[in-house]
Amino acid sequence: MRLGTAKMRRETAKMDDALPRSATSGAVWLELDGERVALLPDRAVWWPRTATLFVADVHLGKAATYRAHGVPVPESTTASTLAALSALFDNLDVRRVIWLGDLLHAREAQQPVVLDAVFAWRCRHAAVEMLLVRGNHDARAGDPPAKLAIPVVDEPFNCGPFAACHHPQRVSDMTVLAGHIHPAITLRGAGHQRLRLPCYWWQPRMLILPAFGEFTGGATPLATRDARVWPVGGGAVWPAVRP
């Protein structure tokens, strides 16, 4: 099967016709264990049948943590991260959010300047049910305050055919959705061009989400022969490439 990019984009667009265009344009649709999910360009996975959104590695309060340690980082990363989440909730049918770990960056993130903003944002989306699968940063940062109404569970958390985790791992007979890695991939092209982009990383029984947070880096995982990668950038999720 040989397709040009333009044709692929048309195909994707055709599929999106049934849905609100603005919300999932540029997304890639996958069928995992019989469930149709969208890999959104906003770096979250949407499962429309259950109106669930999976978001990994938000790292709220990372900038505040740095400042607490005397490193001058401007604060507005939290605000813009929350705004990006709100936009998703507003445009898609989202009744439930499962945070795949590392919601708060560190203990120092649990301070008013961060939590007040998060609380105001939580109140705005009070109707959305939220659940945090504990990640390594959450273990250190402590559970979010009760008033945020985000219960915390340990990985793996089973929902339908999916096992929601933070660390990539294998859970028998389940498809693991995980974060932690902040996967990124370097694309190389003619003319010595290269671009490093965050990506969705798939290998059998496992889908790793890119980090949602803004102030986060990325690592390139070890490639396996059967891994598939969807780069994210320029407002779209791109067709899979082999890493």
Partner: protein
Amino acid sequence: MPRAKRGEVDSASAVATPAVTTKKPRIKRTPESPAAAWLKSRGHEPFEFQRAVWQAMAESRSGLLHATTGAGKTYAVWLGALQALAAGQVPPPPSPVRGKAKRALAAPLTVLWLTPMRALAADTLRALNEPLAMLAPHWRCATRTGDTSPSERAAQTRRLPTALITTPESLSLLLSRADARESLGSVRLVVVDEWHELMGNKRGVQTQLALARLAQCNPQLMVWGLSATLGNLDDAIDALLPRAPIAPARAPVYWPTVVASGEDAVVSSGEDAVVASGENPVDARAPWIVRGQIDKALIIDTLLPARAERFAWAGHMGLQMLPQVAAAIDEHASTLVFTNTRSQAERWYRALLDARPEFAGQLAIHHGSLDKSVRDWVELSLKAGKLKAVVATSSLDLGVDFLPVERVLQIGSCKGVARLIQRAGRSGHAPGRASRISLVPTHSLELVEAAAAQRAVAAGRIEARQVPRASLDTLVQHLVTVALGGGFTPDALYDEIRHAASYRALTPGDWAWCLDFVRFGGPTLTEYPDFRRVVPDADGVWRVEDARLARRHRANIGTIVSDAMVTVQYLRGSRIGSVEESFIARLRPGEVFTFGGRLLTLVRVEQMTAYVRRAASGAAAVPRWNGGRMPLTSTLADAIVEEFAAFDAGGPRGPEMQAVASLLEIQKRRSALPTPEILLAETLKTRQGWHLFLYPFAGRQVHLGLSSLLAWRAGQHVPATFSLAVNDYGLEMLSATPVDYAALLPMLIAAPTERADDCAAGLRPRLLAEVLASLNAGELARRRFREIARIAGLIFQSYPGEQRSARQLQASASLYYEVFLKHDPANRLLHQAQQELLQQELDIERLASTLAAVNARRLSLQPLKKPSPLAFPLMVERFRETLSTESLASRIARMVTELELDAGGELVGTDHAPVATLIEADHDIASTLQLGGAGEGAFKPRKAESRRMSRKNGRARPSQDDSRVDHVDGVGLGMADGVGLGIAVGDTATGAVPKRHVPKPRLARWPRERPATHVESDAPGDGEDALGDGKDAPGDGQDG
């Protein structure tokens, strides 16, 4: 500090020439001064320049002493100091009899001796100690550098010695001590050794700030700089001496110059009368430049390749020349082999041992990453004449005298005339012997360079060094240092730092921003009370209150940016040195690497220490130390074009040009030769895309800015993405999409028409706007920001003890860059990144003059069918810049399409149907992957693994130390011209071929902790490109 002024500007031009100055000897001869007596007791007659310095110091003058290496600069200043400062404290002893009572307590700290390199400190200490017994028995000297033992440090904390030999970084550390003012207040003299090495970089700026601080504690402070070959002595002394900012009227500054040659020493004519009559209308303590003219015979020659026509067109290891180098070493009792990088030193050391096994025990390696004990052993053995040869980097460039060395070999380009002379001076140190340096080319064009270097030395053309201006990152660091060292009040400190030449013109706005930055983290952070690095106390004195911040700051003082270092140590036993963490992280236990000239097996890595044991044999990896590459100076580049022109004109040819003749004939056949009159441009279409090669010969740094500008201009016509490569000769623009360079070129190189009044005012607003726009489209500023972020305290170097807790604070400079760009675009550190680029690399004036020069030449556009010898090194250059005027989406789209085509047109997972099938089909693969359960085992964090992954994921990427020559897609590099192209892939001469990177299926392993340095280590050439003055040497001077 006094400043010397003269009313009439014209008199400044009356700088000494021997004809004028030999008329009136000025230096008083006091035949039996204690210093002279001591020198005579050692069988030396004092030189005139030494007497001149003694007199100046007796008169409490500051100054700059400029003489060739080995001329006796150290004793000129040191004996002067002993006479001027020690004599007053006790009566000079009549004979070298040691009084017992005087040993009781040494005099307080009086002299600070700054040296740019740790390696020099021990040698300087030995030299300074020698005359003490006779001239100042109550003085005590000691060193304090990064190599100083903790016990010695503790002793110094209790009481500092009379004379302290230290580095700029260690001095800053002393300034950060709470009792800095008291302990350093007694300093009466600061000597800055090898000032020419420091003045052009931020370590020099750091030194300026420290001097301003010391001068503030003691207004009578004397400062003496020692300098070797330099083109701009006036700038050097101006930057060295702290002095009040000049009034807006800009009084002309004039430095009296003392030329001391042979018998006579005179002050230059302008000041003659003043000194002669013993009075100075301005200030009797006006500083002097003392110039010791001791000419030393210098021989420069070149080792020629055996078969020049088979010699490599590119590559930089140069092991093809191994037989000639080994033969040259055979000829002499002792030889120094200089390389330009530490990796190259390691490779050459192994290769020489392989070629001459009998050298074992007489061949040593020396570079800044080796442990002090190793370096000391090499230096002492070399001095004692026990070594046949030492392979060294710039760590042996300076200071230390090695009498037995008869000849210096320079592998690869020396990059500059001053550096060539400096290195040559390492040989023939005994009186009456000539210095001899032999250049060893690593590829054909370096033969031209060798000929050009000889031409430039013969003509006496030596580079000038520019002093950095107002680097805010260094100032921010200094503010925290001073806040630790007893605190400061802003007004007083503003006044103080403007005594440093680099900050004389610092605006109140910039100053206020720096204060805000250390207090609030910058204007945008004002409302966040959690950030406080430096805060004013009740009395308005700014201090650092947080002990943790204080500790971290002290650990990070310095302006040399290096990656986290890992100590290399035998399993039980001695330390060998240190390498960058990113290198060790790529190795697995059991793998072999070469370090310090030894083959070592990695056993394990623990707490920033790599434990190793000796390996018998094996294919060894060579560590790669980061560090910029030195740019070729424009002085040398100009000389190269002249060589080309002379060749073209068919004049007499030296042996180098004869050797390279066949290559230049190919250049003429395929294209043309560049000359001072012709601007050569070449175009080429390959599978990689559309290439343009342009040869302005303006040096690497200018080409970097020029290529960005040209690419940005080209991108204004059609949005495109360019990959840019530069070297010292020219630049390459490569686009994956068609570009008609032939049609565009006149527009690309046009100099923008500026308004006449702007030009008159020295402004070039249109060019500046274009350059700034090109900066934003490219990555240059982002790279530059890395260094700035470290110095300003945004990024911390990891150090033992705080490893774990610091992890959550690790972020890469590029991450900061993006966050600042988005949320704090007014951040002045971003501006500094741009400013530094504009000043140091994209100097608008220089760019404008380059454009003018380029336009003045006749354009010769040559469409190529095959790469020309000049184009080839650019094509295979792996450190490239990217500049794009396209949208991110269209860039991704093109690459994704290409990747699909590369993969045979197979499309996977583009919509849900194929992926679903794919997932089903892969079920059985999953079961064979042994992913293990959800347990830890399968996904145990392994840093080394994750590093490896990022490497394997790329295409085959030979390390920097493999030959620079990559494959060149779709280019016919044949024998069609009847002349073979010796392409040095992995230095075929030794049979060392780079390993093929065959991607293998691997087990999935995920790092549990994500090392944040990933982001940086993955960036191509991050910190390796020649940005600024970073080179191999700074690593050697790392200290603190």
